[in-house]
């Protein structure tokens, strides 16, 4: 059984896919930072940022629809910002009476809320593009390039390697439990057991998973030792960034800076 559905990477022959992963990582992070710094209400800039991200989606051949569907993941959190609609002072737009309270929707609140939602939605699309257009090993190389400690990156690398194996095991544990979760034909019985029991069973499953993972890690360590592992993870560094790469980086960062300045002026 394969859990490839977990891996968001979609191979395509697009310029975005071919781009150096270090560039992609820095440009994505820069983009998200820019989006975060744009003040609420600077709508023209938000539209420009959205245009940028949609264009990259098109160029990357990932499909705007696919990316947008995935971006819906971040939406539920928007509920946390809903109270803002009613608590920020400003011109009243609408009010509703709920019991003893009157909730007044203010223009400033709406602008703030919409800005948060826009930032969030635009940022998550950028992150999706990064993850969908870059194979994970390249992302690891990019992380090393931006000076994330090698040890941490090595841990990520092993985690990724065993993620699918362990998710597979988790799915099989779930299947095994489902297969033994039946309803008796005797009348008047309460199916499913108590909540505490179910929690304990789920815990037992997790414990089984962890224990096997722990013991597996010992075998992996042996295998690594057998191949000469001495605690140091050595990886071939990526080739130096060419002039084209530096140019793109410069252009990208400049665009962000310009957008930011414009938004502050607006």
């Amino acid at each position: 059984m394969h859990v490839h559905f977990l891996d968001p990477y979609r191979p395509r022959s697009s310029p975005v896919h071919a781009l150096d992963p270090r560039l992609k990582l820095v440009l994505t992070l820069g983009f998200i930072l820019t989006t975060a710094l744009v003040p609420p209400g600077a709508w023209p800039v938000y539209i420009l940022l959205l245009a940028i991200v949609l264009s990259v989606e098109i160029i990357s051949d990932l499909g705007v629809g696919t990316v947008l569907k995935r971006s819906a993941l971040a939406l539920p959190f928007v509920l946390a910002a809903v109270p803002i609609l009613f608590t920020i002072p400003g011109t009243a737009l609408w009010s509703i009476q709920i019991g003893p309270w009157e909730l007044v929707l203010s223009a400033a609140g709406l602008e703030r809320f919409a800005s948060i939602a826009a930032k969030s939605w635009i940022s998550v699309q950028a992150a999706i593009i990064l993850a969908s257009s870059t194979p994970f090993p390249e992302l690891l190389a990019a992380m090393r390039a931006i000076r994330i400690p090698r040890l941490l990156v090595a841990i990520f690398s092993l985690m990724w390697r065993y993620l699918f194996v362990l998710v597979d095991e988790a799915l099989r544990l779930l299947r095994a439990r489902a297969s033994r979760s039946g309803r008796s034909d005797q009348p008047g019985l309460k199916t499913g057991g108590s909540l505490a029991w179910r929690g304990r069973v789920a815990g037992g499953m997790a414990g089984n998973l962890f224990l096997r993972a722990y013991e597996r890690s010992e075998r992996i360590y042996m295998a690594m030792l057998a191949r000469g592992y001495d605690g140091e993870i050595r990886k071939e560094p990526l080739p130096r960034l060419g002039p084209g790469g530096w140019l793109l980086l410069g252009v990208g960062l400049s665009v962000y800076l310009i957008l930011l300045v414009v938004s502050l002026i607006l």
Partner: protein, 319 residues
Amino acid sequence: MHFSPAPMHIPDGFLSILVSVVMWILSIFAIGYSLKRVSQDIGERQVPLMGVLAAAIFAGQMLNFAVAGGTSGHLMGAAIATILLGPWAAVLVMTSVVSIQALIFQDGGLLALGANIFNMAIVGVAVSYVTYQLVYRLSGKRPWGIFAGGFLAAWLSIVITALGVGLQLALSGTSPANIAIPAMAAIHAIIGIGEGLITTGVLAFVYATRPDLITRQEAPPSKAGVVWVVGLLLAVALAILSPLASSRPDGLEWVAEQKGFLDTAQGTVYNIIPDYVLPGVSNEAIATVLAGILGIILVLGVAMGIGYLRRHRQQASDQ
């Protein structure tokens, strides 16, 4: 792919730059220190062990159980990682889980990752560690202490992490404090029970099969002092924060006070949200409840501190 149990992974766009940066700085320091400690403790073994266990926690978050009417409980994992691996390794493991969730699955933002790591991998682990060690020692290192400690550590790790999220949202101006903080606390006080149940289930399994994995992680007596201090500091910090939840004026009230719009008889456009968040429950009540919980933690902390001192004096006099 969403296996996260609760709204804890903050996406990008919700936190102010200031909050994001501060959280990043704190997280980087904590991760750096944890890397150093883990290197010292288990050296080269760490990469396979941390990596695989991070994968196990990620996969373990899929192991749900039916709660009620279609909802289900899941594992976050900070508590169990802490109890089985010790705090420093747990920080690295949870950091890996949260980072990969953000980077690959967009479960949490990239800029907000600093805050998410701080909440789940650092605060979650710290709270679990202190709580578990406290309860375990209070039980005289008896088996029931493992399970009670595990349950409480798991529950508190969820609640306090949630409080952290609420606080960060409030400080960023994304959510008013007197709604965000109590709401997060209330919801997660319930969700935390699920975490507690699963955690005890894991401990039961591991205790039956490899009890050595649990008892290995006892804090050596020399470090116990640190545990008390951190625990008490946490309790004090929370005590300071809880009035913040109840009396921090939301923007509307503040402006209303400033402009003298408190007179509702004027039929003003501004309708102040009254000082309560839930029907019939005043912010004072919530603060009281919070204070009560903190009081218990403080008392526990003092009791254990006294117990420790007594034992220490006993040992000294025995020599």
